[in-house]
Amino acid sequence: MTTHIGPGETRPPRPPAPPSLTEPPAPRVNYLNVAYGVKSWLLTTDHKRIALLYLAGITMMFFLGGSFAVLIRLELVTPAGDLVQSETYNKLFTLHGIIMVFFFLIPSIPAFLGNFLIPIMIGARDLAFPRLNLLSWYIYMLGGAFTIFALVRGGVDTGWTFYTPYSTAYSNTHVIAAGLGIFITGFSSILTGLNFIVTIHRMRAPGLTWFRLPLFVWAHYATSLIFILGTPVIAITLLTVVLERALHLGIYDPRLGGDPILFQHLFWFYSHPAVYIMILPAMGVVSEVVACFSRKRIFGYEVVAMSSLAIAVLGFLVWGHHMFISGQSTYAGLVFSLLSFLVAIPSAIKVFNWTATLYKGSVSFDTPMLYAAGFIGLFTIGGLTGLFLAAVGLDVHVTDTYFVVAHFHYIMVGGAIMGYLGGIHFWWPKITGRLYPEMWARVAAVIVFAGFNLTFFPQFILGYLGMPRRYHAYPEEFQVLNVMSSAGASILGLGYLLPMIYLVWSMRYGPRAPANPWQAKGLEWQTASPPITVNFERQPVVTEEAYEYAPEENAKIV
């Protein structure tokens, strides 16, 4: 429902003030207390409330996917497949992948932080299509329901990659339900991307030119391009898999002369750019955090902004590097290898620019900055090991081994989740109006970093030794490294539980947050914590550059 603002009214009518139990002065009206009751949440069109609805769904999915990871790591403590059956193990890693990729990592930052922040950052009252935004969330939940249905009916065992002809003709599990779940969720991504693109193009505040936009917004613009250009392809791909299973269409069936490798092309045309869907928003978070905690404009702002677009575009040209040994032609492999090396460059540029931003800054290591620094370190390792995989001759040995598993976890967990956690901490005061306990948060950040490295670094070695991925049982000589990895995973799990506890605690008991607790720049810090429903009392007008922490006339040109 939309709120009409009449003449002279700058905010919605004040509802009856709710009785406050915690603090004497009745809280101002904000988006959280403007209305109460389940209906006011489930029918809301406020982007901030929808963001919190997403947070609920995403968090649930994260811990569901995480519990599968726990079981996987427990199984791999011993070489024999003795904890669960092979069938169960295969379902565990499949559901871990499906849930973490499609239901956690892809929506995590865009649908929660992006949804909450983009309109505020550009000085708008909401996204361009608020009802569509709510619909996106319902579609996401419906897709999740299909997947959970597949899970409770017995699961699915194709791997998150759904490779044909295994998925179309051989698996006896609930491929159709899981495939439809991802198909449906895809439309949630598409609609979110569409909403962001139109919003960023059409609804920027007066004076907010493209090159004054926060880098978080740039990153989400690039991400949204991938959403709208890539997601439809995975949708049609999974739909054809479902049709091939259900109606015996034969598009990938080798018995008819169909080519299973065509499926891989279509799958990776989306699923490689999907990696950038996960990492680009995290890069946006890191840009904001690094600027704020060094109190400086990001070094080479324009270059960093453009590198996001470059990653989004180049990211679409490299999908074949997942298929070097698949039976794809040797020459196509070479072209995809070359292009894959090119996409490494804009990522490297970002890392160098963040590092340069710290130079002569005023650097403070609050929790968000700890996560950002962790991101830079882990993303660097993840990116550099990506070079190993892009080098065709070397990829032959390491592909489909734990080397790949380690590499993409460094990008997705070390990169995307570190960015996500950093972002949650950074904007938590804005979102909830409460401060979190800084000491606990720092401890958790360090635990996550240590646990992560212990979990995934040994997997690089395992992979080069030759341990294939998706193995339920493995030769004995791999055990030591697997035990290390599992030990790390238990530390990592603790690191993830801690924020869950203290952040929830802070929602009730944390000290009230001022509008701008970090003394940060950006429109979101100019409005109250938490903001009112229409975000700003008055239409903001932007008169300065992004991240103008100190007057421009003091600027030095290096």
């Binding site: 039976g327 290591f365 030591v480």
Partner: protein, 330 residues
């Protein structure tokens, strides 16, 4: 249990050293850049730590020179890596002449190997040291992947088509054979061993056991049983093309295309005969898909290959359309 902490896999093929050299080069690059970034972040964080609450450092604008530096230097480095990786990759794709040929069928959840001399193994492969071995692989069901870590080779085995890989073992021993492409319930059980033997030992392995008939002879029997000879008689009145001397030679098709008769072409012409019609013939051959097992098909291919003489030029050498970059080093 092996309590040691392994860090590096065994090297047992001519390719292993080349892959490892690239690997070590990349580790050096990674350590350099990883240390560089980590050092800079930590140094800046300490050197420029916030000293007062309201400190506002003067802004520094970007620098085109610096941006170009950290664009072009990484670009140069990755191009070197690309070329190096491509060179190794071509060496893997290009089969050297004079190989010993082995046919491999992947099937959930086992590897079936057949030697030209007729030995058949399951989840095992015996090869001599120092001889290049060409593998022609296919799958009976889903996609598998033939992976021997000690040789640094891996190739996805795709149903409905042939793929090729090769290796030359350098050290006698027993090495892991893994399926590296997820193939269902017992994926992690689809493992075996590759036993590399000294030539003399290999010869005695070949002569030991019930050898029976060679692969080509088995193919010839199948050829007779399926009555292929009714049409492929070899005379000018025959309804099917002459097969003697076909393998490794160019073929003109009815649609004007030309190709070289390799294993994949012969397999396709048996299971999908109308796919590529030889010029001057009618598409009258029935399809044998589903009537001959993949192993039987490989026997037929071996038989037709044997009709072109005892030591046919490998298809790779005969058909290669591009100049010989990335020569194989023994």
């Amino acid at each position: 249990m092996d309590t040691g902490l392994p860090l590096f896999p065994e090297q047992a093929s001519t390719m292993a050293g080349r892959v490892d050299a690239l690997y070590l080069f990349l580790i050096a690059i990674s350590v350099f850049f990883g240390t560089l970034i980590a050092t800079l972040v930590v140094t800046f964080a300490i050197r420029f730590r916030r000293r007062s609450r309201d400190e506002r450092p003067p802004p520094i604008h970007g620098s085109t020179a610096l941006e170009l530096t950290w664009t072009l230097i990484p670009l140069g480095i990755v191009m070197v890596i690309f070329l190096w990786g491509a060179e190794v990759f071509f060496a893997m794709a290009r089969v050297p002449p004079g190989t010993m040929n082995v046919y491999v069928v992947g099937k959930r959840w086992m590897w079936k190997t057949q030697h030209m001399t007729g030995q058949r193994e399951i989840n095992e492969l015996h090869v001599p040291v120092g001889v290049p071995v060409k593998l022609t692989l296919t799958s009976e069901d889903v996609i598998h992947s033939f992976f021997v870590p000690a040789f640094r080779i891996k190739k996805d085995v795709v149903p409905g088509r042939y793929v090729t890989t090769w290796f030359q073992a350098t050290r006698a021993g027993t090495y892991h054979l893994f399926c590296a492409e997820y193939c269902g319930t017992k994926h992690s059980g689809m493992i075996g061993t590759v036993t590399v033997m000294e030539p003399a030992a290999f010869q005695s392995w070949l002569s030991g056991g019930a050898t029976g008939t060679s692969l080509a002879a088995a193919g010839e029997k199948l050829f007779t049983d399926l009555a292929c000879v009714t049409c492929h008689r070899g005379d000018t009145e025959a309804r099917g093309p002459k097969l003697e001397g076909l393998f490794g030679r160019p073929v003109s098709l009815a649609n004007g295309e030309r190709l070289v008769a390799d294993e994949a072409y012969i397999r396709e012409s048996i299971v999908n005969p109308t796919a590529k019609i030889v010029a001057g013939f009618q598409p009258v051959m029935p399809a044998y898909q589903g009537l001959v097992t993949e192993e039987g098909l490989m026997q037929l291919v071996a038989y037709i290959e044997s009709l072109s003489g005892p030591a046919p030029a490998p298809a790779g050498a005969a058909a290669s359309p591009s100049p010989g970059a990335g020569e194989h080093k023994p």
